[in-house]
């Protein structure tokens, strides 16, 4: 056969094969490869060449397919892993944000530490969390003051770094700026803390520490204000010859800084001078004027001035102060030898006398006007006296005890008499508590309250 004849025969066979595959929806590159196979070699091999070409294609496609299947499967698995990993990170970040928020929710350090501990447990980060706070006496456990920190806890505070103790215990320092404020001890009953957990624990501790620092700073200022205010009222030393009890209750609603005061002082001659007073209004200004009046009254009383003269002198002093506030006060002095009671009042509720037999009455008498208002020059303040019967008590108090927004003054004064009458206690302390409980109950009171009880046994 000539080359020409061979070629023609080859083309015939190829055409026939093309015809046979015509209804197969084959991709273009299949035809390209078949045509190139068919364009070469002897016509007898055309069929086999076509077959081989197709078989090659099947093999290639099969390999490609298995690569793609494998890639798809691995990508799928990778997608799940990526999603799980990022989900873990997201939960971690949102956990830290929750810790930040819990640490800011309260300025009460024990509240916020409880809230953080609760979060740590509910997120399953640790099974127990022990809190240690650094005090002037070292690391202390607020939940159990007798407990001593162990080596790991102390080491975390000293090194300012997370310290492991085995796999299931970690101690992390609570550091805010340059200061170590405490330590968290974290325990797991199942599973170990990974390096990642350690850095998460530090993240938790850092956020809690900032909240703790804020709470501490708030508490410091709050305590300072409270102490300044409380320190304005004297701590009464027990008297030699008389029973004495004093109570102060700040208003439970509104401003908690008040202008009521009580005082008791013993002159060199043994006379005891009792004072209860009430500056109008509340707040810092009232408290400061209260301090001035209380101390001036004590100064005059100590010097030897009687109740009326002391009040008159304090009135002058208040007039000289640059303040729009007024005050009421009652001063009573008792001679322990004789049981003589002298008293004077400037616009104040009268003293109450509780006698041995149980009789209770108010010592109603003429009194001077309020301290600080304009008075005619030379006006004398009235003063009164009476002999106490042995076993009597005198009660001085401010209007906060008897005045309620819901009832009038007379009703309140009658209720107070009843409170003393119904009191079965004998001890002065218990009587004061009974009266306060009966008069104020558990309800809010918007005025502050003073009560001073003095007992003369005779």
């Amino acid at each position: 056969m000539t080359d020409d004849l061979r070629a023609r025969a080859r083309e015939d066979v190829a055409r026939a094969l093309r015809e046979a595959l015509r209804d197969r929806d084959l991709p273009p590159d299949v035809w390209r490869r078949l045509d190139s196979e068919w364009a070469e070699g002897p016509p007898d091999d055309v069929l086999a060449a076509g077959l081989r070409a197709l078989a090659d294609l099947v093999g290639e496609r099969d390999r490609d397919l298995s690569w793609h299947q494998s890639e798809l499967e691995q990508t799928n698995a990778g997608l799940l892993a990526l999603h799980a990993e990022i989900d873990r990170q997201r939960r971690r970040t949102s956990f830290l944000d929750e810790v930040s928020r819990a640490s800011a929710r309260s300025l009460d350090s024990s509240h916020l530490l409880d809230a953080v501990a609760e979060l740590v447990r509910s997120h399953g980060f640790a099974d127990t969390l022990d809190v240690w706070t650094l005090t002037e006496f070292g690391l202390s456990c607020p939940d159990d003051p007798d407990r001593q920190p162990d080596k790991t806890t102390r080491s975390a505070a000293r090194t300012r770094e997370a310290v492991r103790d085995g796999g299931s215990r970690v101690s992390v320092p609570l550091t805010a700026g340059p200061h170590v404020l405490g330590v968290f001890d974290l325990h797991r009953s199942v599973g170990e803390f990974t390096d990642d957990d350690l850095s998460l624990a530090m993240g938790i501790a850092n956020r809690a520490a900032v909240g703790l620092r804020n709470a501490n700073e708030y508490e410091r200022e709050h305590e300072l204000a409270q102490r300044l205010q409380r320190a304005m009222l004297p701590t009464l030393a027990p008297l030699r010859d008389l029973g004495l009890v004093a109570r102060y209750r700040s208003a439970t609603s509104g401003v908690h800084v008040g202008g009521d005061w009580y005082d008791a002082v013993t002159r060199r001659d043994g006379t005891v001078v009792l004072t209860v007073g009430d500056v109008t209004g509340h707040g810092v200004d009232a408290a400061v004027v209260m301090g001035k009046l209380q101390n001036a009254l004590r100064a005059y009383a100590l010097e030897g001035h009687g109740p009326a003269a002391s009040l008159r002198l304090v009135h002058d002093l208040l007039r000289g102060l640059d303040t729009p506030l007024y005050a009421t006060a009652v001063v009573a002095e008792v001679e322990p030898e004789s049981g003589l009671l002298r008293w004077a009042s400037a616009g104040h509720p009268p003293p109450l006398l509780h006698e041995h037999g149980g009789e209770v009455r108010y010592l109603e008498a003429v009194h001077a006007p309020m301290l600080g208002i304009h008075l005619p020059a030379g006006l004398q303040f009235p003063q009164h006296e009476r002999k106490l019967r042995p076993g009597s008590s005198v009660a001085l108090f401010t209007d906060g005890l008897i005045e309620r927004r819901t009832s009038d003054l007379d009703a309140g004064m009658a209720r107070l008499l009843d409170a003393f009458r119904t009191c079965e206690a004998d001890a002065l302390d218990a009587r004061a508590e009974h009266v306060l409980t009966t008069m104020l109950g558990a309800s809010d009171h918007d005025d502050d309250v003073c009560l001073l009880l003095c007992h003369w046994e005779g």
Binding site: N76, L79, L80, A84
Partner: protein, 140 residues
């Protein structure tokens, strides 16, 4: 009112059927306006659950159901097999575990991706897994 309709039923007998399940799930998701991220979560879970049906259940069937209510559209995938069932479901749902080998995030990963996930199984009776995916975007 909520209406539920089965849109596709795909037999799972060989490897290539996994791609059929993926395609069926993707088609429906696209048709009701799932975003690319939502589609991806759905298709990935469908693929893993189909593989689970094939490998662990010895084959079965996948149903793609569409749940339409006022203001929401949900796509529900149900995979049924009559294989040996799962002995310890909690273990099977733990990250990293797979009794049929592999990478072990299949069931737990699908559960994490789905908005709702339910697994019923009985030793010797087979396994049915239902996974629901909701879209936040309005349905198309």
């Amino acid at each position: 009112m909520t209406s539920v309709s089965t849109v596709h039923e795909v037999p799972i007998r060989e490897e290539v059927d996994i791609v059929h399940v993926r395609q069926a799930a993707r088609d429906v998701a696209v048709s009701v306006g799932f975003s690319l991220v939502e589609q991806t979560k759905l298709v990935t879970a469908a693929s893993e659950l189909a593989r689970n049906t094939l490998k662990h259940g010895g084959g079965g069937v996948a149903e793609v159901e569409l749940e339409r209510g006022s203001g929401h559209t949900a796509l529900r995938l149900v995979f049924r097999d009559e294989g040996p069932g799962i002995d310890d479901v909690d273990l099977a749902l733990t990250d990293g575990y797979s009794s049929a080998g592999g990478l072990g995030l299949g069931l737990s990963g699908a559960r994490r991706l789905a908005d709702e996930f339910e697994l019923w199984t009985e030793p010797g009776q087979g396994t049915t897994v239902t996974a629901v995916f909701r879209t936040r975007t309005a349905s198309g």
